[in-house]
């Protein structure tokens, strides 16, 4: 038979399924009638003849199915049949179906979300041409991604491996388009940036290296497509327009294509500007300083045919030459290459580690859910032994029954997978729209789900369906229809440990791991929030601004700063105001080398220590509520005409001078040779991040070391909302053109706690899911064991057993499993928590509160899950029960 005819018959059979079936049935019936006619003729009466004919014929249903199978198109047909039957069966037990689908939806949803993050942040290549050959350069043993401009020039000009190298830096500026300036986030780049990335303009043109002719020679900007749409309404006439960037005139050259958002995944810059104009953009020109190594990130495409290893050895040989030429600069000139999309290993490392850990936990959740559903399915299969025995006796094959059971499992897993995927898509879209850190509008998570996420969710659904569908297989294969139909109930359960119980114990252990890790994380987070920060975020406001954005230069900056402080201090309820260049715990800290007074050769390797450095105004310590231990704070007289002075923290005093007392009045040196006298010592605090060890810190008077970015700290005893409005009004009255943001210090601190908070929330969610799964698992097992042993329990009660003994008999095994699983999970969880310590500050599993918490939680879960079955066991009425059976 040819293929088209086969398919035609196949589709015809599929569409007119019941017609083919009816016809077959009629034919078999006709056969039996003919046989009965013959038997009647041989002397039997009609009824007897028909009965005899039926028996002689054999399993009608089986032969009908074999006929339909022989007819072709039956694979599809039996599938449809199985699906229909499964739907009917599932509809008959809505509670089971609902619980199973919900469990899977949660488990698959969690996996899809985590995979979506992994996909968006790690797996998906950057949206630039030939992303696979694009690499960022990292330096030294700590894989620092930042370099100095002179170093960059040497890499660019001397390397033989890259098809051009570009450098860039993320910063914020005030952009004035005729109205008041607004703060915008930009990428300052070298002129060749777009050429190196091989991007073509959507509109107008880009700047190139030929536009660079020394400092401030290229006052051009290139808008991102999104910013062009939102701030210029997609006006094609913007090309050539002049706008104010920090009050300097810059010309708009063009617009980037819609899909291009720079080379950093999580930062979508508003526009791009040439880095040679750094002085106008940042208020400071440091491109000529080889030692300023925190300035730029460098990236480029490898030339065709050059491997990563070749490029690295090429860079290392350049590094060796540089070390020889500039021995005073201690640069650790060895190199590595990393993907530029997450700023190399700086963010990429921790994100990958965290997501991999999360993926593992989510996988465990799914495994636990499968174990859970597997045991539920096994229990159901046991309850349905009679049905199955009947079907076997009526001529159905075991393969067919298994196929039908698998259909049920896969239907449930697909439904769960679809719901889970739907939820995860909503969540991921929410994450895309979410701006994770307050005040940094360009930060975003490009984690919108794509086909890969759908495929993974579908695959997980199918695999888990097969996983838990496989559990009852052995049971079905062992079913002996004659025994079961005869005896009416299952063979008595042995005392040995069943596969189902092992599954449950494994599942409880997994859940205990999740509960343990989430508790460790929550406890760590609570501790970090309440740890001693060295300042008091409550009742304090932060106003962030940069005076150069509004065109202030040189001497006008401190004057304006003092005016602002005085004006804010005059507000009612404000007790103190001070400024700092960058508040502690705000995306790390500025770190500088510190030398002892006796050091003559100030090369980096001779530094006595590194210290977090802050430029502060008088009044800052009061406003931040940082305790002064000894000496004095600054006054407005600590200016350029006075001796250079500093206030240091206790750690600094102890490390450099031996003691707090010894530090007062002592001297030390900075890398530029300035000799500084310590006039005061303050308490220790947290500077770069919450998890750091005690760190050295020095505070310098802003009049002696000017800084353009500035954060005012305002301490008051007033309601924050009202105060924010007044602060805004005051600042606008002083200079309407000054861009700024106001928020409470506690809110600002969210950024410092961001990592820990995300970790805690994700672990908390996973822990809660684990807890839910163990409740359903234990409940299923306990309820099942009680219902199976009703008769035995009834007899025990009738013979005068005590409540305790009945409970022992009914639920003893469930509790034993719970205890065993929890203990195993707790130990595993404690081992796993070492990993957590890297993310969550002070996350230690050796905390009696955590241990007690886990034990208590698992016990409560067990109690909650066995409550209903226990009630059922206790409320048994032996007389009715025994009568029924």
């Amino acid at each position: 038979m040819n293929l088209t005819a086969y398919f035609r018959s196949l589709t015809a059979k599929f569409l007119h399924r019941s017609a083919a079936e009816d016809e077959t049935e009629e034919e078999l019936r006709s056969h039996i009638q003919h046989r009965a006619d013959d038997l009647e003729r041989s002397g039997l009466d009609r009824t007897a003849a028909e009965r005899r004919a039926h028996i002689e014929f054999g399993g009608q249903v089986r032969f009908k199915e074999e006929c339909l199978e022989a007819l072709g198109g039956n694979v599809l047909e039996t599938c449809v049949q199985d699906i229909r039957f499964s739907l009917r069966v599932l509809r008959k037990s809505p509670g089971f179906t609902f619980a199973a689908i919900l469990t899977l939806a949660l488990a698959i949803g969690a996996n899809a979300v985590v995979f979506g993050l992994l996909n968006g942040l790690i797996l998906r290549p950057l949206n630039v041409p030939q992303a696979e050959s694009l690499w960022a350069i990292e330096r030294g043993p700590y894989k620092v991604v930042n370099h100095s401009y002179p170093d960059y020039l040497d890499f660019r000009d001397r390397n033989r491996s890259f098809d051009g190298l570009a450098a860039y830096n993320v910063t914020s500026v005030g952009l004035d388009t005729g109205n008041n300036p607004t703060a915008a986030w930009i990428l300052e780049t070298t002129g060749n940036y777009f050429d190196v990335l091989r991007i073509q303009p959507y509109l107008g043109r880009f700047f190139h290296s030929t536009d660079e002719h020394g400092p401030n020679s290229a006052p051009y900007i290139v808008l991102s497509y999104g910013y062009w749409q939102s701030h210029f309404q997609g006006d094609r006439g913007v090309v050539g327009r002049i706008v104010g960037l920090n009050k300097h005139p810059f010309t708009i050259l063009g617009v980037t294509p819609p899909g291009f958002q720079g080379n950093l995944l999580f930062v979508a810059p508003d526009f791009w500007a040439p880095i040679v104009n750094q002085e106008q953009i940042e208020g400071d020109y440091v491109l000529d300083a080889r030692g300023k190594r925190e300035i730029l990130m460098v990236l480029g495409h490898l030339k065709a045919g050059i491997t990563r290893a070749q490029a690295i050895s090429d860079l290392n040989s350049i590094g060796a030459e540089l070390e020889k030429s500039y021995p005073k600069d201690d640069g650790h000139m060895t190199f590595a290459l990393a993907r530029p999309s997450l700023a190399g290993d700086w963010l990429g490392g921790p994100i990958l580690g965290f997501l991999a850990g999360l993926m593992m936990l989510a996988g465990l959740i799914l495994l636990a859910a499968c174990a859970n559903l597997g045991s539920l399915f096994a229990a159901r299969a046991a309850d349905r032994t009679r049905e199955m025995a009947l079907r076997l006796a009526l001529g159905s094959s075991r393969a067919r029954i298994l196929k039908q059971l698998f259909t049920e499992a896969v239907l449930i897993s697909l439904a769960g997978g679809a719901i889970g995927l739907w939820g995860s898509i909503l969540l991921l879209h929410g994450l895309v729209a979410w701006s994770p850190l307050p005040g940094v509008s360009v930060l975003h998570l490009p984690v919108d789900p794509d086909a890969k996420v759908y495929a993974v969710a579908l695959m997980l659904a199918l695999v888990s369906g097969i996983l838990f569908g496989i559990v009852p297989v052995r049971q079905v294969l062992r079913t002996d229809p004659y025994e079961i139909v005869k005896s009416g109930s299952r063979t008595t359960e042995g005392r040995r440990v069943t596969f189902r119980e092992v599954l449950l114990a494994v599942q409880i252990a997994i859940c205990a791991v999740l509960v343990t890790s989430s508790m460790v994380a929550v406890r760590g987070l609570l501790r970090s929030i309440h740890s001693d920060l060295g300042f008091e975020p409550r009742n304090a406001m932060l106003v962030e601004t940069a005076l150069n954005m509004a065109g202030y230069r040189g001497e006008s900056i401190p004057t304006m700063q003092k005016r602002i402080i005085d004006a804010l201090k005059a507000l009612s309820g404000v007790t103190s105001v001070g400024s700092v260049d960058r508040p502690p715990l705000y995306y790390g800290a500025n770190i500088a080398h510190v030398f002892t007074d006796t050091t003559a050769d100030l090369r980096p390797s001779n530094a006595a220590a590194d210290a977090a450095t802050y430029n502060i105004s008088p009044g800052y310590f009061q406003a931040a509520a940082t305790g002064l231990l000894l000496g004095r704070t600054f006054t407005w007289h600590d200016d350029k005409n006075a001796l250079p002075v500093a206030v240091v923290n206790r750690q600094f005093a102890n490390r450099i001078f031996g003691s707090v007392k010894g530090a007062l009045g002592g001297h030390y040196k900075r890398a530029d040779g300035t000799r500084i006298q310590v006039v005061g010592i303050v308490e220790n605090g947290k500077y770069a991040n919450l998890a750091e060890d005690p760190t050295l810190a020095m505070f310098l008077p802003v009049l002696q070391t000017p800084a353009t970015p500035m954060t005012f700290v305002i301490r008051s005893n007033r309601d924050s909302q009202q105060l924010i409005a007044e602060i805004k009004k005051t600042l606008r009255n002083l200079d309407a053109a000054l861009p700024f943001t106001v928020q409470t210090w506690s809110r600002e601190l969210d950024s410092a706690l961001f990592g820990a908070r995300v970790a805690t929330i994700s672990l908390g969610v996973l822990g809660a899911m684990g807890a839910m799964l163990s409740i359903t698992g234990i409940f299923g097992m306990a309820a099942y064991s009680v219902s199976k042993r009703l008769k035995e329990l009834g007899i025990r009660l009738a013979l005068g057993a005590q409540r305790k003994e009945v409970l022992q008999a009914a639920l003893g095994r469930a509790f034993k499993l719970l205890a065993f699983g929890s203990a195993a999970g707790l130990i595993l969880g404690i081992l796993a928590s070492r990993v957590l310590a890297a993310i969550v500050y002070q996350a230690t599993p050796r905390d009696p509160l955590v241990l007690a918490g886990v034990v208590l939680t698992m016990a409560l879960l067990g109690l909650a899950a066995t409550w209903l079955p226990a009630q059922r066991a206790l409320s048994l009425d032996p007389s009715t029960l025994l009568r029924e059976e």
């Binding site: 038979m1 018959s9 016809e23 077959t24 009629e26 034919e27 078999l28 006709s30 056969h31 009638q33 003919h34 046989r35 006619d37 002689e56 014929f57 054999g58 399993g59 009608q60 089986r62 032969f63 074999e66 006929c67 339909l68 199978e69 022989a70 007819l71 072709g72």
Partner: protein, 113 residues
């Protein structure tokens, strides 16, 4: 039950084709015809006949149509197609060759020295 033989696997199709080649038959009729021509020596399980019939129809060796039987009942009648006739010839030849060969093998006696 002596004198009766279980049919060999794979021979049912040939039997059916042969039975139908003598004239259109319904399923029960095929059974009766096989019984009759083999003088009740070959026993076919009644239900097992139908999947084989359906398979032959699908292979295009038989064609089926509904009609009325001698008992005045509705029944499905099968007859050979030309393809079926050809197949019957081939299979019968094959079977005869095999049977002859088997018979001569089984008839062999030890040679006298």
């Amino acid at each position: 039950m002596s004198g009766q033989a279980q049919i060999l696997p794979g021979t049912l199709d040939l039997l059916i084709l042969k039975a139908v080649s003598l004239g259109p038959l319904h399923g029960y009729g095929v059974l009766l015809r096989i019984g009759q021509i083999s003088e009740q020596a070959l026993l076919i399980e009644q239900g097992a006949l139908y999947p084989a019939l359906f398979r032959l129809v699908r292979q295009g060796l038989l064609k089926a149509s509904w009609g009325t039987s001698d008992n005045n009942r509705r029944a499905k009648f099968y007859e050979l197609t030309s393809l079926g006739r050809k197949r019957l010839r081939e299979e019968a030849d094959g079977w005869n060759r095999l049977a002859t060969a088997m018979a001569s093998v089984l008839a062999a006696r030890p040679e006298e020295s």
